[in-house]
């Protein structure tokens, strides 16, 4: 009896391990599978490389042009990162302002929404006139495109502090700034990190848009040059490198989130944490 129950417990544990292994392997399997289907489709239907190059052709191009790919993606990464950091600082500050003051909210929100509706590609020429082609237009486009989700999320986190909690603090004689620093900000951190995941990916969109319009380096510039030479595999190589950078930055944001706001996703997968009673 007891031997059987131990065995079934072992079987359960083994099944759980298998499932975890599968979960970890799945992203790779799906990605590899997608490339395999792509490769097969290109050969099967005889698609020309200048329409849709096969993954093998793209890989070949990546190896051939690894040096410019690396230096240009480094430039893009740097531009995006600078724009993103500016967006984090500005987004946090504006989010706190909008979330804590109804007046600021009423005054600024329509303007913010109007601004966010403007296609950023239309702003790039203006930035180029102001700052000249190169680093700054790209970094600023990344900034402009990525600060909005941060503002909205931080403001939501601060504006939705429970009224009772606010009362507890106010009855202690807390100033509005105390309520923001002790409750509003920590409370909005899960929202903030959720917005970072969106912001970092759209920041890449911003810097690459700007690079394709006016720049002397960066992945966007590289793709523009490649497409003008009909080197379609290299264009695709640029796209894939961009995707990889996006995934890496997203992963950084998620790691930061897990480190700092574990309380928000409390023990969903960990029964040891629940005591109940």
């Amino acid at each position: 009896m007891s031997a059987r129950s131990t065995r079934s417990a072992e079987a359960l544990a083994a099944a759980a391990r298998r499932r975890r292994r599968l979960e970890n392997a799945l992203p790779w399997l799906v990605t590899i599978g997608m490339f395999a289907v792509w490769e097969a489709a290109v050969h099967l239907f005889g698609i020309q490389p200048f329409i849709l190059p096969a993954p093998s052709a793209i890989a070949e191009s990546m190896v051939k042009w690894w040096q410019p790919l690396l230096s240009n993606s480094w430039a893009t990464l740097l531009t995006t990162f600078v724009g993103f950091i500016m967006a984090v600082g500005f987004g946090l500050a504006l989010g706190v302002l909008i979330g804590s003051s109804v007046l600021v909210y009423r005054g600024l929100y329509p303007l913010l929404i109007a601004f966010n509706s403007v296609p950023k590609v239309a702003v790039v020429p203006i930035l180029v006139i102001w700052f000249g082609a190169g680093f700054w237009p790209a970094a600023l486009t990344a900034f402009l495109i990525s600060f909005f989700p941060i503002v909205v999320n931080v403001a939501t986190g601060i504006a939705t502090v429970e009224p009772e909690l606010r009362d507890v603090l106010r009855a202690l004689g807390a100033r509005p700034i105390d309520i923001i620093t002790k409750v509003g900000l920590p409370r909005s951190m899960p929202y903030f990190f959720a917005s970072l995941k969106v912001a970092i990916t759209v920041a890449f969109v911003g810097s690459i848009i700007s690079e394709t319009v006016a720049a002397n380096e960066g992945i966007g510039h590289l793709m523009l040059v490649a497409s003008s030479r009909f080197d379609v595999p290299l264009v695709f190589a640029g796209l894939i490198v961009t995707g990889i950078m996006g995934v890496l930055m997203y992963w950084v944001a998620v790691t930061l989130e897990e480190r700092t706001t574990g309380w928000a996703t409390r023990g969903q997968n960990d029964p040891r944490l629940a005591t109940g009673g």
């Binding site: 429970e162 009772e164 909690l165 009362d167 507890v168 603090l169 106010r170 009855a171 202690l172 004689g173 807390a174 105390d178 002790k182 409750v183 920590p186 409370r187 951190m189 706001t261 309380w263 928000a264 409390r266 023990g267 944490l273 629940a274 005591t275 109940g276 009673g277």
Partner: protein, 268 residues
């Protein structure tokens, strides 16, 4: 005769402008220093409004609220509050949650860094008093509802408030936990003697804990009756089954149902 610690005189409170809901009208009550008062009444009678007026969170539309000899014109810092919902901060452990008021209220705020050890010991003593010893490093979501409410009570008490405002603090708990916490609250009150205003709809709770039970009319609320509870302290839970205790509960019940009948008459 000494001046009452809390003095509410002819207070009216209306929400949402001239046409808004009248929550309180002609409400008056006095609470002596160190007294334990319970306020009971039909639901929606403005009990919670009364709490917010006394702590200065909202100004009254009419009348005056005087606490400790001074008219209330802003949030008081002598008050500790606890609500039906424990409202603990999920990113702080229990000890840090309890110590939150010390980071806000003067003079503790100024002294907190220099005397962290003293204050921490004080918070730990409080947690021990309510039976939460050993849970200091746990996070709120790792505790049951009753334990969270105990911690919330500690947070309301840690800065030694002279006035403790409790808004149905045990309303969401099961009967056994609630009765445990009655005794916790009684022990805390006997040890420190703050002035307590407890808002509740549980008559047994009101009679068991309070020196004096105040009954509010239905909206717009005012105090229509009061009942002294003659039981000496400390009270024991088995006393709640005595005929004398039950008689007081029944008396209160009748008065409240009278108050509700009045409400029906108003509607018609």
């Amino acid at each position: 005769m000494t001046q009452p610690f809390v003095q509410i005189d002819g207070v009216a409170m209306r929400y949402g402008g001239v046409e808004g809901t009248l929550a309180l009208r002609h409400a008056s009550l006095d609470v002596a220093d160190g007294e334990f008062v319970a306020v009971v009444g039909p639901s929606g009678c403005g009990k919670s409004t009364l709490m917010r007026l006394v702590t200065g969170l909202w100004p009254p539309t009419e009348g005056t609220v005087i606490v400790d000899g001074k008219e209330v014109d802003g949030p008081l810092s002598v008050a500790g509050m606890a609500f039906q919902n424990p409202t603990l901060l999920p990113w702080r452990n229990i000890l840090d949650n309890v110590m939150l008021p010390l980071e806000v209220v003067q003079p503790h705020r100024r002294q907190l860094r220099a005397q962290r050890g003293t204050y921490e010991r004080k918070a730990r003593d409080l947690l021990k008093l309510v039976g939460l010893e050993g849970f200091e490093a746990k996070f709120p979501w790792q505790l049951s509802g009753g334990m969270q409410q105990r911690a919330s009570l500690c947070r309301a008490l840690v800065h030694d408030p002279r006035l403790l405002m409790l808004d149905e603090p045990f309303g969401a708990l099961d009967v056994f936990t609630r009765e445990d916490l009655w005794d916790v609250l009684q022990a805390v009150w006997l040890a420190r003697k703050p002035t307590v205003i407890l808002v509740t709809h549980d008559l047994k709770e009101a009679v068991y804990l309070a020196d004096r039970v105040l009954i509010m009319s239905s909206r717009p609320g005012r105090i229509i009756a009061e009942r002294h509870v003659p039981y000496p302290r400390p009270r024991r839970l088995d006393q709640t089954y005595e005929a004398k205790f039950q008689a007081i509960v029944h008396e209160l019940r009748d008065r409240i149902s009278d108050a509700r009948k009045g409400e029906d008459a108003d509607v018609r």
